[in-house]
């Protein structure tokens, strides 16, 4: 079964249609990249999977989004519980103004976990997974805002992984970072694939080519082409895709 599936998804901001009849399926334990020029709807589409668009007034969505075969836009679903299973990493690192430890422990705390040993173990495990443990293990009580941008982003990844979601959505996770930090995040994405299903929105086509198994190209709210990354970058079927990846527009 496919991990994530979208069926005929349309999204409107007021009168303006931002997504047009999008259908695609994503296999478990793969990395899928969403590419396309600014304003093409790729971030908006990403945010359908954890219902982050709910936070914006005036958004209307039709169609179905299924996760493990369950429709998440059915009214009965508990959105907060759902979001706990779908992690999200944002464009700009957004650690809470709390200590490093409390940032990673946040997800457990809001679940009501109080056991200190559980919290300690989870914080260490998550920071290790995010390849940040060695850099911060002596400074867990320091403010997360004292870290560098790249470290903050890895902290946000650790914070997301602490609640063991099955999917991680990444919205241009490296666009605000320097090349070295970007390389670290990409390496991390590659390693995390064995445990998670990852969807990454990126502006950077080399990045899409490096980290993803499959790539979806969006343009003006439509899914133009969706295929294995190799095919998209070496032998795209559509003219628009070809033009975009060769840098003729976008």
């Amino acid at each position: 079964m496919q991990k994530l599936e979208a069926r005929n998804v349309n999204l409107f901001y007021g009168e303006k249609q931002a997504l047009k009849d999008i259908s695609l399926g994503i296999d478990p334990n793969t990395v899928t990249a969403f590419i396309g020029p600014s304003g093409c709807g790729k971030s908006t589409f990403l945010r359908c999977f954890n219902r982050m668009n709910d936070l914006i007034d005036n958004v209307r969505i039709t169609g179905d989004i299924l996760i493990d075969g369950r429709n998440i836009y059915k009214s009965k679903i508990n959105v907060d519980e759902h979001r706990k299973k779908i992690g999200m990493v944002f464009q700009k690192p957004n650690p809470f103004p709390k200590t490093i430890y409390e940032n990673v422990a946040f997800g457990l705390r809001i679940k009501g976990v109080k056991d200190k040993s559980v919290l300690d173990e989870t914080v260490e495990r998550s920071l290790r997974q995010a390849a940040l443990w060695d850099e911060v293990k002596d400074d867990l009580k320091k403010s997360a805002l004292s870290l560098s941008g790249g470290q903050q982003q890895r902290l946000c990844i650790a914070r997301t992984m602490a609640v063991e979601p099955s999917v991680i959505l990444m919205d241009e996770p490296a666009s605000a970072l320097d090349p070295l930090s970007t390389a670290k995040i990409e390496e991390l994405i590659y390693e995390l694939k064995s445990k998670y299903t990852i969807v990454i929105v990126t502006h950077n086509m080399q990045q899409a080519a490096r980290v993803s198994d499959k790539t979806a190209f969006f343009y003006l709210g439509e899914l133009i082409e969706y295929n294995t990354t190799t095919t998209i970058f070496t032998n795209p079927k559509k003219e628009q895709t070809h033009n975009y990846i060769t840098g003729r527009f976008g």
Binding site: D57, R83, M88, F90, K92, N94, P97
Partner: protein, 292 residues
């Protein structure tokens, strides 16, 4: 010619700002010199340790404590009303209500602070006190409780509006992070937004306290004029401001000891509000640096 005109305007602007500074300095100098006068007749130790304040009686005693105590008691009651209500309103407007509702309700709430305080005073005396007396039969006609409750309502907008501003200033990305982690609205509000806005919220509370301490009409009308060293909110008492009104409007002779007491009381009040405003200033400055 233009440069002369510019120069004249510059001088006028400078004189205006100089004037306000001079007035402030003048007030401080007069307060200080009259207070100095006062302390040449009354020992400073008596002022701070004596538990009675009776400068208008034959047996004069000059202990500021009853007035300070009365002021703080009314202020505490007011904050106990305004903080929970104001913060709840701020969180509601920021996290729950839609933007149109907030845009309408916030200015409406601010009207509370624009109502003349003398109206609040009579509201406390003629409406709230009789109402409370039905539940608390031994509540005296003038009392700290009713004055404090009404003052609390008056300062709600200080806390709700400034706290809402502080919550609104929290970067949107933090809200997204909280929701993205699966927080409920309540968790997002109280585990992420309120802590992130805490310095702004503290500033709002300090300004509200400062406002409550300096508030005059409500307490002058509804709290009574009996300086008492008590923590009982059901009896009448006197605040620093009420005492100053009482003496200023009475017919004490100039340069008498009774006359100079209002300056000693005044400078006590001034020191309180001055300190509070400075604390809020320091916190505000720290807070502005936080997200840069």
């Amino acid at each position: 010619m233009v440069s002369v005109k510019e120069r004249i305007i510059e001088v006028i602007l400078f004189l205006c700002s100089l004037l306000t500074v001079l007035i402030t300095l003048g007030i401080i100098v007069i307060l200080a010199s009259e207070t100095f006068n006062f302390f040449s007749k009354v020992s400073i130790i008596e002022f701070f340790t004596e538990t009675e304040w009776t400068p208008l009686f034959a047996n004069k005693k000059f202990g500021i404590l009853p007035l300070v105590c009365g002021t703080l008691l009314v202020t505490v009651i007011a904050i106990l009303v305004a903080l929970p209500l104001g913060l709840t309103i701020a969180v509601y407007l920021n996290e729950y209500a839609n933007q149109k509702f907030t845009a309408v309700v916030k200015p409406l709430l601010e009207i509370l602070a624009a109502i003349p305080t003398v109206v609040y005073g009579f509201f406390a005396l003629t409406f709230v006190t009789p109402l409370l007396q039905r539940v608390l039969p031994n509540l005296s006609g003038f009392n700290a409780l009713s004055a404090g409750l009404v003052m609390g309502v008056m300062i709600i907008p200080y806390i709700s509006s400034l706290s809402e501003d502080a919550l609104r200033a929290v970067p949107k990305s933090l809200r997204e992070a909280a929701y993205g982690m699966g927080s409920t609205r309540l968790q997002t509000a109280f585990k992420v937004m309120v802590p992130a806005a805490s310095s702004g919220i503290i500033v709002s509370v300090i300004l509200a306290i400062s406002r409550a301490i300096g508030e005059t009409m409500i307490v002058a009308i509804a709290a009574g004029q009996e300086p008492k060293l008590t923590l009982n909110p059901l009896t009448s008492l006197e605040t620093i401001t009420t005492y100053i009104v009482q003496v200023s409007m009475g017919d004490v002779p100039r340069n008498s000891i009774e006359y100079s007491t209002i300056f000693s009381a005044g400078i006590t009040l001034f020191i309180f509000t001055f300190l509070l405003n400075n604390i809020s200033f320091v916190i505000k400055r720290k807070y502005h640096q936080k997200y840069e």
